[in-house]
């Protein structure tokens, strides 16, 4: 009788512990990467570029069993992101990516508490001197320059409109590069810029784009996830061309998107993984460039680009890689 009671108690205890721990332990420990992002993973811009890269790396390395991915999106409020970063770190993730320049101070405060975790954050170049922090950025001005060259050759009205969110980070550097690219081809072209003050206000971005169009612009470019509004405005007009950045935006308006600068983080992610496996947890800075294939100019196949314009674009790319042309962010 007593024995049966003990058996029951043991079974009950097992049951309780089984219920209390809902996550089963995997037989093989995968490499665990978590990413915290300020916008949606489907934003057609900054966040999506990182998520796509992670998915690609996961696929290449063998799928979910080998690489575990977790994400927290729409963390535009830094305190929430900090909680997420800290939480992933305390769960023992191998790499925690803080994908947003506003997360820097959070990483600075959290990284020392978890010396065994690799933190990667961007876009910035500051590793805070910590051995387990990588910093990464994109030389967005390079692709901006190339786009600028192409745009300058294609514009007929000699007016180009730029719709920017907030004048910070890679939004600013991309546009700076773009303006230089335009000037290199034809300094008489007017490039007018508007900043909506928000990364997410699509309606305002649309109005900004429409304002540029009404003021005579026949080519538009811009940055952030709210540019879908600008692309929509271009589409409504039907004749305005678009140059994109951060993501290949051709799918939004196949007849009007000429080219997009694409952020390709896969090389960087693979290197971080490799370094960690070899024992280095951080301390380096990565910059996506045309040279190292981190930046790519994706020409939209659905848009027929005149041969001489494409040649000019290709030349600009070569020049930047070779260093004959320097773009100052």
């Amino acid at each position: 009788m007593f024995k049966r009671l003990i058996v029951v108690m043991v079974l009950l205890a097992l049951l309780v512990t089984a219920c209390a721990k809902p996550t089963p332990t995997a037989p093989v420990t995968p490499f665990r990467i978590a990413v915290v992002m300020p916008s949606a993973i489907t934003d057609m811009a900054f966040s999506q570029s990182m998520w796509n890269a992670l998915l690609a790396v996961q696929k290449e390395m063998g799928g979910e069993a080998v690489v575990e991915l977790k994400y927290s999106e729409n963390m535009f409020k830094v305190p929430d992101a900090a909680t997420a970063i800290r939480d992933y770190a305390s769960q023992g993730f191998d790499v925690v990516i803080a994908h947003g320049s506003q997360y820097g101070t959070s990483v600075q405060e959290i990284a020392p508490d978890f010396p065994a975790v690799t933190f990667a954050w961007g876009t910035d170049v500051n590793t805070f001197g910590m051995p387990n922090v990588y910093a990464y950025t994109a030389a967005a001005e390079e692709g901006g320059y190339v786009n600028g060259v192409l745009a300058a050759m294609l514009t007929k009205s000699k007016t180009i409109g730029v719709t920017g969110p907030v004048e910070v980070g890679d939004a600013k550097t991309y546009i700076d590069g773009f303006v230089q690219g335009v000037a290199a081809v034809d300094p008489t072209i007017t490039v007018s810029k508007t900043w909506t003050g928000s990364f997410s206000d699509v309606a305002l971005m649309t109005e900004a784009a429409k304002t540029h169009i009404a003021a005579g612009a026949d080519i538009l470019t811009g940055s952030s996830q709210s540019v879908v509004g600008s692309i929509g405005a271009a589409k409504d007009n039907g004749k305005v061309l678009w140059f994109g950045t951060q993501q290949d935006q051709a799918s939004l308006a196949p007849e009007l998107v000429v080219a997009s600068q694409v952020y390709d983080w896969t090389g960087m992610v693979k290197e971080i993984i490799a370094q960690r496996k070899a024992g280095t947890l951080g301390g380096k800075t990565y910059t996506l460039q045309l040279k190292n294939d981190g930046l790519k100019i994706s020409f939209n196949p659905a848009y027929t680009l005149a041969a001489d314009v494409k040649a000019a674009g290709d030349k600009a790319i070569k020049d930047i890689i070779a260093g004959t042309v320097t773009v100052t962010p």
Binding site: P22, T23, N74, F76, V78, P79, T83, A84, G104, V125
Partner: protein, 374 residues
Amino acid sequence: MPPEKDEKAVHARRFDFSGLFFNALLPLAGMLVALLIGAIMLLILKVNPLTAYAQMVNGAFGSVSGITQTLVKATPLLLVGLGICIAFRASVINIGGEGQIIVGALAATWFPLTFRTWPGWLLIPSTLLVGFAAGAVWGFIPGILKARLKVNEILTTVMMNAVGLQLMNLLVRSVLMDPAVIVSGTYLAQSERLPEQAWLVRLVPKTLLNTGSLIAVALAIVVYIFLWRTTIGYRIRAVGFNAEAARFSGINVPFNQALSLTLAGGFAGIAGAIEVMGVQHRLLEGITSGYGFSGIVAALFGGLHPLGTIPASILFGALLVGGDKMQRAVQVPNSLIDAILGLVVLFVVGSALWSRRWAAHRQMAAAKNQEEQA
């Protein structure tokens, strides 16, 4: 004493008890209904609701990190909720929590950065006071507009939220911007780190829990004493219970309504100050995290009683922390959490106030009956 009257007196007292019963139980019941609907939504997303909710509980209470996060989130909820208790008891609705938190945070950033040589024992209390004052001003403006010009406070407080937000955006991207980010060229929307004397002491290492939480609890007791043991507090409650009767007995109704809004703003301002001084150590965008609205829900959960708001804000903090944790664990979109929280608000508000009015109504009827008997 005639047995009838006795019965009615007992009846009234018994009713009192069941009224309280309703106050605590019905909101919880409302919350459960909302969570049930959430479970259905989880099922549609092919997530096991039991796993998901288990993760939620685990996230909020299952670890030191979780518990401290819950308490850290509960602190601003409690403070805003205290202000709501005061305002609501005067029948004034303060939806301006977000803006009041922001200006409190702004003041609590500007002050230590300006007087950065002051010693901690002087700097901390004065910064808290400055935060209170800033929030109080933000509550005073809608308050005086209501008192003098009868402008509806719901609208003015919502407007003040927007103004406060833009004001912070403007300042944090220009005057208050961290010199370090200007140098590094990132131009992030954040302020310089506060001088260390202005930091609130961390209670548990490696977590964000700080003395601000203790300050909040102490203030809850203060508010309780204020509302039930002082004349001003009595007047505020009288105005909320029956404005006409209060006016009849000589209480200045508009003044007390404005006062309650001002105080509510002040408490929200302290919430902002503590977020800056204890949690973030600087001002950054998004510092309010919606506490201005969720603090209202916390106060409702707590039956609009300052002491009841303490467990209520812990519970709501747990919902927030657990919800985020659930999102990370089962990878549901966090918009699901927002939707569930919206339903919680709807159901709690739909149940609690109805029962309160009903209970108050019956109480007044019972009291009237007693009078007639006399």
